[in-house]
């Protein structure tokens, strides 16, 4: 069953220099219990997409059109007050850098307790026990002591665990992770990933995992969506997309993460385009090794092919 369905979502930023089309007509859905990975380079729109789901886009950014259907309700139509009820309780989010989201002058345990206070009619003091239990669950060592620690007294991994405890405190149905482990070392990363998967299973929740780290996504996600310059270029089961990529961009990305000894690494020439003046036709065409006549003229649409969707003229138009 679908828990979230995003239809033709457009999110633009209105700047003096022009309009940045960060997310430009993106559709996807998340099934119950599923982990969807969204991969892309910086500027591909993946983070904007994640923030839009929780309606966290601030001016000059704006959701222009499209629908975000969560458990039957269109989130784009809700009032700010109704959204507040959903954030944290129904859908929660874990961000990349815990330092930005933890208050440096407030004890960590109290910050987590605030999550309960915001959504339930309880006092902070009476729920510290619950926070200690939560800390135990996310495997923070010495939880009784740690609830009284300040953020700077915790390591990066511990801070991220504290944020995860906040995200799972109210048993949400959907957890959005925006590069949750990019700031961490690889050995810690693995532990955090395992913890997240455990939490997801326990809550029977779904997950959207946003990362530029295709290797990581390939190991933990059920479905994979590749974004380029605000558009979806390929979207389907992780196995299919990763092991048998169809879009030249996906293929090049996967090639660029191979282990090559003392020889030239396969690359994608050039740089990602400006989102104010994206290239005409297919946005990837200036960097594409397989481009041909139509690519700079006609924008390809997503078509179904071998158990995934792909937007590339190589495969013709849908019949």
């Amino acid at each position: 069953m679908k828990i979230l369905e995003v239809r033709d979502l457009k999110v633009y930023y209105f700047l003096h220099r022009g309009v940045v089309k960060a997310v430009d007509g993106v559709s996807f859905s998340v099934d119950e219990g599923e982990i969807l990975g969204i991969a892309g380079e910086s500027g591909s729109g993946k983070s904007t997409l994640a923030h839009s789901i929780l309606r966290l886009i601030k001016p000059p950014g704006q959701i222009i059109s499209g629908e975000i259907i969560f458990q039957g309700r269109d989130l784009t139509k809700l009032s700010e007050e109704e959204m507040r009820e959903i954030r944290g309780k129904e859908i929660s989010m874990v961000f990349q850098d815990p330092n930005t989201y933890l208050n440096p002058i407030m004890k960590v345990g109290l910050q987590v307790a605030e999550v309960y206070e915001a959504h339930q009619d309880v006092k902070v003091e009476s729920i510290l026990d619950r926070v200690v239990n939560l800390f135990k669950k996310v495997r923070i060592t010495d939880p009784e002591k740690r609830v009284y620690s300040y953020p700077h007294e915790l390591s990066g991994g511990m801070k991220q665990r504290a944020l995860i405890s906040m995200a799972v405190a109210l048993k949400p149905k959907l957890i959005i992770l925006d590069e949750p482990t990019s700031a961490l070392d690889v050995t810690i990363q693995l532990e955090i990933i395992n913890l997240l998967k455990e939490m997801k299973d326990e809550l029977n929740a779904s997950m959207i995992f946003i990362s530029h780290d295709l290797e990581l996504l390939s190991e933990i996600t059920d479905k994979l969506m590749i974004m380029y310059a605000g558009k979806v270029v390929e979207y389907g089961s992780t196995d299919e997309v990763f092991n048998n990529p169809k879009h030249p961009y996906t293929e090049a990305l996967i090639n660029s993460i191979k282990y090559v000894r003392k020889d030239i690494l396969p690359t994608i020439e050039g740089e990602p385009p400006s989102l104010i003046n994206p290239p005409p036709g297919c946005r990837f065409h200036p960097r594409c090794p397989k481009k041909f006549e139509v690519c700079d003229k006609v924008e390809p649409s997503l078509i179904k092919l071998d158990g995934r969707q792909v937007s590339c003229h190589l495969y013709g138009e849908e019949v």
Partner: protein, 319 residues
Amino acid sequence: MKKVVEGKSIKKYFIASKGLIGKTEYVRAVDRVDVDIYENKVLALVGESGSGKTTLGRILAGILKPDEGNILFKGIDIYQDGLTRDLRHKIQVIFQNPDSSLNPRMRILEILGEAIKEIEPEISKEALEDKAASLLEDVNLHVDHLYKYPHELSGGEKQRVAIARALAVKPEFIVADEPVSALDISIRAQIINLLNSIQKSLKISMLYIAHDLRTVWNLSDYVAVMYLGKIVEYGETEKVFRNVAHPYTATLLTSAPLMPKEFKKLEIYPVGEPPSLIDPPSGCRFHTRCPLARDECKSLDMELIEVDSGHYTACPFLK
């Protein structure tokens, strides 16, 4: 093989807190480390954040004086004897973040010009422009970029400029400190290929500091693995990857997503969080996180032992 850089028993402690009555606490960033870099070879220095690899890199580059130990560059002690201006130019550093290493108020021409004038103070304006242009060509940038400011360039282009500036003074030894970690995957491979080709064509010796094992596998001839201020394993890259001889290296190889099977001979995962550098564990510093730790690891002072010709490990139990 000729040694270009020889580091002997390097020690660098930073003061963490100075007690009025209590004793002063130190961060033991580099704790009596020996390291050699051979002519025309790349040594990769690998480790998690806080392992001391950046500190060691800065010491070897001649920009941070160690508390103890000697660093010889082509036989001359950098800190005892001091380097002449000419020799100083032979050592260059490329940093992780080009935004903080390129002056935002200078055009690329001026940035490169400053470096060129270091070795040719009397150069004419025309000759300087020609030289700067050819430097840009060496790093595959268009000559138009000479008249741009750093903010007009992308991250990858800025890193190319930083590399061009390093090349301007005809270096023999380059310390590249995580030069690609801040870049997108598709750009990363381009910069690694560039470093690879200039290293080969100009016969530069290089210290490549990284935590990304894929680029280490591609670029390096030798690897030194650092943990809490100590080198725990050292050897030819092929040997270290294929016949891992220290549990810490094994956990790094195991934790990295998509690591080829052939490098996962010993599949072990670390336990817990990295301890603090202020009060590192006794004996083998990795014992608190090592799944293979025995009682004696808590007290044994681990010295590097040779397991294979030129392949050293600090763990006597893993041969």
